[in-house]
């Protein structure tokens, strides 16, 4: 984390120094704030690193997982939730909101340890269809219908 903050700071300063000056009346231009923020990130990244080195982190976050109320990191759970989000990104414009949302729903439920994909799919379909109708009918916010367009079109949506 501290390295990440430091890296962002260095990256931001590279960009900041390539921005034009263009100060105008104020004498400072669009590159001033980026420089300040970049400098701040570098300082804070270093500060976090020293805290890490001197053991200051342990005060805030106990080393022991049980004390934090956690179990060991579960890769499958993390991967399933991520997979659901990626599936939705891939599907939402082609297959439409409802199908993408159901795919997301099933994957996330699986990630949280559900062993009943059919129940999840059923609940997901009801939820996604309900949301779709609420948005399109009541709120006038368009959502992609995708492959279900003939169906929703026939239903007058």
């Amino acid at each position: 984390m501290s390295l990440g903050v430091l890296a962002l700071g260095i990256g931001a300063s590279v960009v900041a120094f390539r921005l034009p000056e263009a100060g105008g009346y104020a004498g400072i231009g669009p590159n001033f704030m980026p420089k300040v923020v970049a400098a701040g990130l570098i300082v804070l990244g270093l500060w976090l690193l020293t805290e890490l080195a001197t053991g200051g982190w342990r005060e805030r976050v106990p080393d022991d997982a049980v004390e934090r109320g956690e179990h060991a990191f579960s890769w499958p759970a993390f991967a399933w939730v991520s997979a659901g989000l990626f599936a939705q990104m891939a599907l939402i414009h082609s297959a439409g909101f409802v199908i993408a949302a159901v795919a997301l729903f099933i994957c996330v439920a699986r990630g949280f340890g559900s062993t009943r994909p059919l129940r999840d799919a059923g609940v997901g379909v009801v939820l996604a269809l309900g949301v779709f109708m609420f948005f399109v009918k009541l709120l006038n916010v368009g959502l992609p219908a995708g492959w279900l367009a003939p169906l929703t079109g026939a239903a007058g949506l």
Partner: protein
């Protein structure tokens, strides 16, 4: 005073129009329904529901938001009492006694005292808001860019550095938020910054995407990876929902004291409701005639913090409406809701959009009544929401979260950004970094920058302007003191401890 009352009366005229009343009911109901979900705090509720209002007129949308804001707050307390998983730091104090009461079969009175206490404190605090807002507006009209900049810096530092557990963590997250705030077109020169040629980034990073990513996606990834195998216990709703005469007698003074504590804390930039809830808890514990009950479910310990939470939430609206300064993550998202309609809260809004502002304030009164009327009978329904199995619950939360981000621009880029912020939120949650400073940095950063540059433009580039204006100089001085004094205190204390040990050796 008379002017305020007539403005407020006019506001009620706006808030009680049938359509606006309907939006108020929808807001309160949705806010409670989403806010009651475990792990969903008020900030996330408001962020997820922001896109719902895309097609409403500004007044209707903001009235709905006022309902969502109060509803989310109330829904969170239900979860806290029955599940002992506070959705936000301001609910932790409620959890201490509330969950104990539920364990002893007194969930009903605990929920009732929190509902009625929220109503009492919310209404009293809204009256205070009504009286105080015009006064602050008078003062704020004299503020120039230098004063605003100093005020924003002050808000940044209190929110990020002073209130969190660790100053460096809060500041790091604040600067991260500031960096995200820089992305997009520079308002004053049209210069593109940090967009890397991605057209979707030109408009900047939307606060909804950041807040939903950090709160919802980050939380879901974290809970899935680290806590999905932990079993939670839901307390059953048993016994009467009604409070006994004794309960009333013990709750009343707690509500009133908590309002007196909560409201002032809400109005200063002090990070919202967290501190006053703990102060109220400590006060009630000290003053109670039944101190032995504390830790085993004392009703004052629920009534006080819950009322303080609501009073502070109303207090937060004072700097938000009169100065345009958000002092909590939720307020930052409300500010974004204003900006969606091209409105910038501040003293000028009270003049140019008087009907909207006073309609909004009036709808806070209405919202409080709606909350009480809707929720006392519906407690049973909200309890059922809590019984949803966790896989389905989080799957549902993510459907709503992605929907919120996607419906902003119908863009997959927003979904990808959402996932990136989700990863960031995951890391922050795991290693204990606060989220609120990042959200406030994103929304307030660009405003602070433009005030800063405006101030320098007026002074022809002379930076001493921030120190020669008395208000600005005072605020900046206070800010420096806030950072330096605790640090000095720590250094001196460590030195002394070291010296003592040497003396012993």
């Amino acid at each position: 005073m008379i002017e305020t009352l007539s403005a407020l009366a006019h506001g009620f005229g706006v808030a009680l129009q049938p359509m606006n009343l309907l939006w108020g009911v929808v807001g309160v109901t949705l806010g409670t329904a989403i806010g009651v979900l475990p792990g969903v705090g008020p900030a996330l509720t408001v962020a997820m529901l922001l896109p719902l209002t895309a097609k409403l007129d500004a007044t209707g949308a903001l009235i709905m938001f006022a309902g969502i804001y109060y509803g989310a707050m109330y829904g969170g307390s239900t979860t806290t009492i029955l599940l002992n998983t506070p959705g936000e730091s301001a609910s932790i104090a409620t959890a201490l006694e509330g969950n104990k009461m539920a364990k002893r079969g007194r969930a009903g009175p605990a929920l009732a005292t929190s509902a009625i206490g929220s109503f009492v404190a919310g209404t009293l605090a809204t009256i205070l808001l009504t009286l105080l807002a015009p006064v602050v507006v008078e003062v704020a009209l004299a503020f120039g860019p230098a004063e605003y900049f100093a005020l924003m810096v002050f808000a940044f530092v209190t929110v990020a550095a002073v209130l969190g557990a660790s100053m460096v963590r809060g500041l790091a997250m604040l600067f991260l938020g500031l960096l995200f705030g820089l992305v997009g077109i520079d308002e004053q020169t049209g210069q593109m910054r940090f967009a890397f040629g991605v057209p979707e980034l030109m408009d900047g990073i939307d606060v909804v995407v950041l807040a939903v990513g950090l709160f919802a996606v980050g939380e879901a990834l974290y809970v899935a990876a680290y806590q999905s195998r932990v079993v939670e216990t839901l307390e059953k709703m048993s016994g009467s929902v009604w409070m006994s005469r004794e309960d009333w007698k013990r709750s009343w003074p707690a509500w009133l004291r908590a309002t007196a504590i909560g409201f002032p804390f809400g109005t200063i930039p002090a990070g919202g409701a967290e501190i006053p809830t703990f102060l109220s808890y400590a006060t009630e514990k000290k003053l109670s005639r039944h101190p032995e009950e504390f830790g085993h479910g004392a009703i004052e310990g629920v009534a006080g913090p819950e009322a303080a939470n609501n009073a502070a939430s109303a207090g937060v609206l004072v700097p938000l409406l009169t100065l345009g300064i958000p002092t909590s993550a939720t307020a930052a998202i409300l500010l974004a809701a204003f900006q969606n309609y091209g409105l910038q809260p501040g003293p000028l809004l009270f003049q140019s959009q008087a009907a909207l502002v006073w309609g909004l304030i009036a709808s806070l009164y209405v919202g409080n009544v709606l909350l009480l009327v809707l929720n006392l009978p519906l407690i049973g329904l909200w309890v059922k929401v809590l019984a949803i199995p966790r896989p389905l619950l989080y799957a549902g939360i993510l459907v709503f979260a992605t929907l919120g981000a996607f419906s902003l621009h119908q863009s997959v880029v927003d979904l990808a950004t959402l996932y990136v912020f989700g990863l960031l939120g995951f890391v922050m949650r795991r290693w204990g970094f606060p989220v609120a400073p990042a959200v406030i940095g994103l929304i307030l950063g660009p405003l602070a920058e433009s005030q800063f540059r405006r101030a320098l433009s007026i002074s022809q580039g002379d930076p001493s302007v921030f120190l020669t204006h008395p208000i600005s100089a005072t605020l900046l001085g206070l800010t420096v003191l806030l950072v330096v004094v605790p640090w000095l205190y720590k250094v001196v204390r460590e030195r002394r401890a070291l010296a003592r040990e040497r003396g012993r050796a």
